[in-house]
């Protein structure tokens, strides 16, 4: 009788533990949206995606734009650094690979840097990227 109870309760305990782990696991990554000021500047074409994986200011620099770009680029650099180490690549390599992806993901109307260094507005077609991008 005691043995039977043990066998019954053990799966229940495991299930409870798994459910708790799943709940905390799903709760931790915060899929936050873009900061409204960044989203507005990006949509307005004042900020663009550079080939090196960081943001750049497309128009005449202002204090507000510089603050937005610097803040995000510092955060990006921290993420790149961590991920590059995990992937046993250099910070520059990882940032460049992310730049390829970030430019590919730009929406029509957003600005991005082309291989010659100039700024382009993303059209409906594929963006002009470095030949090394996949």
């Amino acid at each position: 009788m005691g043995e039977a109870m043990k066998q019954m309760t053990r799966p229940v305990l495991y299930a409870a533990a798994a459910a708790a782990m799943a709940l905390t696991g799903f709760a931790s990554p915060a899929f936050a949206q873009r900061d409204p000021a960044y989203a507005a500047a990006r949509n307005a074409g004042q900020i663009g995606e550079k080939m090196d994986g960081y943001l750049g200011i497309v128009v005449a620099e202002t204090e507000a734009l510089r603050r937005i770009v610097n803040d995000i680029n510092i955060k990006r650099r921290a993420v790149y650094s961590e991920k590059a180490q995990a992937a046993s690549a250099t910070l520059e390599e990882y940032a460049f690979a992310a730049g390829c992806q970030a430019i590919a993901k730009t929406a029509p109307g957003e600005r991005y840097q082309v291989p010659d260094g100039s700024w382009q507005t993303r059209g409906a077609g594929a963006p002009l990227r470095d030949p090394r991008c996949p």
Binding site: P29, A89, E93, A97, A102
Partner: protein, 85 residues
């Protein structure tokens, strides 16, 4: 007298020709082989070696290969950090 005359010439008459015949065949075979080898080598040498700097091409390939390897990882990173991309 009679026996010595018979045995000495018989030995000299049979032995040298066999040796000669064998040695001439060896010479012909070696000569033919050396001609064939020299002809084959001559054919090989005419192939031109590439003069372009291979090292630079390798550098480009390695870098591109790394970016290809990181592409999926980088794409996931962007999706996980939507607020800063």
């Amino acid at each position: 007298m009679k026996s010595s005359e018979l045995t000495v010439p018989s030995v000299t008459a049979t032995y040298p020709p066999m040796g000669w015949r064998g040695s001439t065949n060896g010479w012909v075979a070696r000569l033919a082989a050396s001609i064939v080898v020299s002809l084959a080598l001559g054919g090989c040498i005419t192939v031109n070696a590439p003069e372009e700097p291979i090292v630079i091409e390798l550098n480009v390939n390695i870098r591109q290969e790394v970016i290809y390897r990181l592409a999926k990882d980088a794409g996931n990173t962007i999706e996980e950090n939507e607020d800063i991309f």
